[in-house]
């Protein structure tokens, strides 16, 4: 039986949960409502809150490729973001998987791993001036390639560290069995370790894509037009420009947020372990 005290505690807890949910949902919900409200409603004082009509026009504008339109800028940015995300992830994987395996199996190079993880925590501003000079001397500014190189400074340390702590969980004995059978090292990695690490690799892949999708500093510094500008840059420009239609901003935000939020929900179980215990095991 519950005592009165316990009952009050339970009611308070439910009230607190509703409050937390509201704090998260209300701003998000409002952005969605804005994106489908007629512009007149959004510039009326006092604000009516409930749209007088549903207006999906902005989504259509953003997602239609017409010359010199918001849609053109937005869709090119979307393409660039996907392209940079894919490229950076491929680079990260080619380099980080073998390295992570070495870090996991050979303990005496641990200090090197710490050094790499340490750079992950440095502000990107430490790299930007020289990177800018290097990229400009190769005439790579304003190209997706530049961003792939730059984003690697963030993604590589992360993937190495994350993959390493995952590979730690794959028993070394399985590989040793393969070695006794006379398998070559790369063959053991390819046919024994990699298949076992598939879920881990999938998770890491999604995390890397999230990092690139979120990246902003390198993108504003190293790009200047629709050939390479990513979504974050376009959204920042929209936010500080003289766009009079707040609904368009909201719609752009919604479209840019949907893919990472879906990825986040998929990653739900790994987020905490990925961000804390992975580093703990060293």
């Amino acid at each position: 039986m519950m005592t009165t005290k316990q009952r009050i505690g339970r009611i308070a807890a439910y009230a607190a949960m509703i409050l937390v949910a509201a704090v998260i949902l209300v701003p998000l919900g409002w952005i969605v409502v804005m994106s489908i409200s007629p512009t007149v409603d959004l510039t009326t004082v006092p604000l009516p809150w409930v749209p007088s009509a549903l207006d999906f026009d902005r989504y259509e504008r953003l997602l239609t490729l017409a010359h010199n339109s918001d849609g053109e800028i937005f869709l090119y940015a979307l393409r660039n973001t996907c392209w940079v995300a894919a490229g950076t992830t491929v680079i990260a994987f080619l380099l980080a998987i073998p390295a992570a395996w070495v870090f996991s199996r050979m303990r005496h190079v641990k200090w090197l791993l710490y050094l790499i993880v340490g750079t992950y925590m440095l502000p990107p501003l430490m790299f930007v001036v020289p990177l800018y000079r290097i990229l400009s001397s190769f005439s790579l500014l304003n190209s997706p390639w530049a961003l792939m190189v730059a984003d690697s400074t963030i993604v590589l340390p992360f993937t190495t560290w994350f993959l390493k702590s995952g590979i730690d969980n794959i028993p070394v004995e399985i590989e040793e069995a393969g070695a006794i059978d006379g398998g070559k090292l790369w063959r053991i990695l390819w046919s024994i370790t990699l298949p076992l690490a598939k879920p881990l690799i999938g998770t890491t892949l999604l995390f890397s894509a999230l990092i690139v999708w979120d990246e902003f500093l390198y993108a504003i510094l190293f790009t200047s037009d629709s050939r390479a500008q990513t979504l974050t840059v376009v959204i920042a420009n929209l936010a500080s420009g003289r766009v009079s239609d707040f609904g368009l901003l909201a719609a752009a935000g919604v479209v840019a947020a949907v893919p990472p939020v879906l990825v986040g929900l998929v990653l739900q179980r790994s987020i905490v372990s990925g961000l804390t215990s992975g580093g703990v095991k060293g």
Binding site: R10, A13, A16, V20, A21, V23, I24, P27, I31, L42, P46, L47, W49, I91, A96, P98, A99, V102, M106, L112, Y114, I116, G118, L122, P123, L125, F127, V128, V129, P130, Y132, R133, I134, S136, S152, T153, L185, F216, L217, L231, T232, I235, A236, L238, A239, L249, A250, G253, A257, V261, G264, L265, L267, Q268, I271, V272, L275, T276, V280, G282
Partner: protein, 288 residues
């Protein structure tokens, strides 16, 4: 196997040396020169840039803004995160849903979050002003981001909204490691809720929380995106963090050398934080 295995490290190391190692050294060197962006390599000028930084009010001001932002947002995140984590651990109906909901602010791109709050804070038609006026808290619309006294708080609030959920999830994961029998035993022994929290719960969640706190501090200290999108460092430099200052010096004013020295100084602070982080990691290792 050993020596051949080590070769697998080479590609990564070569690339990291090129994209991280060399730029770091170059930044270090630049900080002692008067190099300008896109121009000559610059002359060696000793510690002039550093002396200039210490003398210039802009650096002290940016350091102050950054420390204020970091301390306040991290404190608020830890507080809300811990509270929400404890709440979720009660396993009430709807906990699963709320747990999923927490992912959304976490996964939202920082720039999108910043833009959304900028629209909500808008001084002419923003939802915050509309809400506060309609419930009678304020009489006239306020410019939250346009007023130097409120701008940093408004940006900080938007940041906390996005980041407290991660702390909540970390707390929750830590709490689930508390053995249920231990809690029940403490309850049977007649320990009150606070005594139980201190004796049973806190020791288990303290190490992951410490790590969360240090990681968040390092992140907050680097803050750039959210401030850039919401205020560009204004009004009257009231939100100009170190990162914004470095960006403006190096890229808007093209003072590559001076910008590099400012970056070096902010790294000195980050280094101290990383030291704190590795100590926290060792602490957690000891508990395990």
């Amino acid at each position: 196997m050993e020596s051949r295995g080590r070769l697998l490290l080479l590609p990564l190391l070569i690339v990291l040396l090129a994209v991280i190692g060399w730029p770091l050294l170059d930044t270090f060197w630049l900080s002692f020169t008067d190099a300008r962006l896109g121009g000559e390599t610059g002359n060696f000028i000793g510690f002039d840039n550093y002396l200039h930084a210490f003398r210039a009010p802009a650096f002290r001001r940016a350091l102050f803004v950054t420390v204020m932002f970091t301390v306040c947002t991290v404190a608020a995140e830890m507080l809300f995160g811990l509270g929400v984590g404890l709440l979720l651990d009660m396993n009430l109906r709807g906990s699963k849903f709320l747990r999923g909901l927490l992912i959304v602010p976490w996964a939202l791109p920082t720039v999108v979050n910043a833009m959304c709050w900028r629209v909500i804070y808008n001084p002419d038609f923003g939802a915050l002003d509309a809400f506060l006026q309609q419930i009678g808290v304020i009489k006239a619309y306020q410019s939250w981001l346009g007023d130097p006294t409120t701008a940093l708080i408004a940006v900080g609030a938007a940041d906390v909204w996005k980041t407290f959920s991660l702390v909540a999830l970390i707390t929750l994961a830590g709490l689930q490691a508390v053995p249920r029998e231990l809690r029940e035993a403490a309850e049977i022994d007649g320990a009150g809720p606070f005594a139980r929290f201190r004796a049973v719960t806190l020791p288990v969640i303290l190490p992951p929380l410490t790590i969360a706190c240090v990681l968040r501090t390092i992140e907050a200290f680097k803050v750039f995106d959210i401030i850039w999108v919401m205020t560009h460092g204004g009004p009257l430099d009231s939100t100009k963090s170190l990162s914004i200052l470095v960006y403006q010096e190096a890229f808007s004013f093209r003072h590559a050398g001076y910008g590099a020295s400012l970056a070096m100084l902010s790294v000195a602070v980050t280094m101290m934080l990383i030291g704190a982080y590795s100590r926290a990691v060792r602490m957690q290792g000891a508990v395990r």
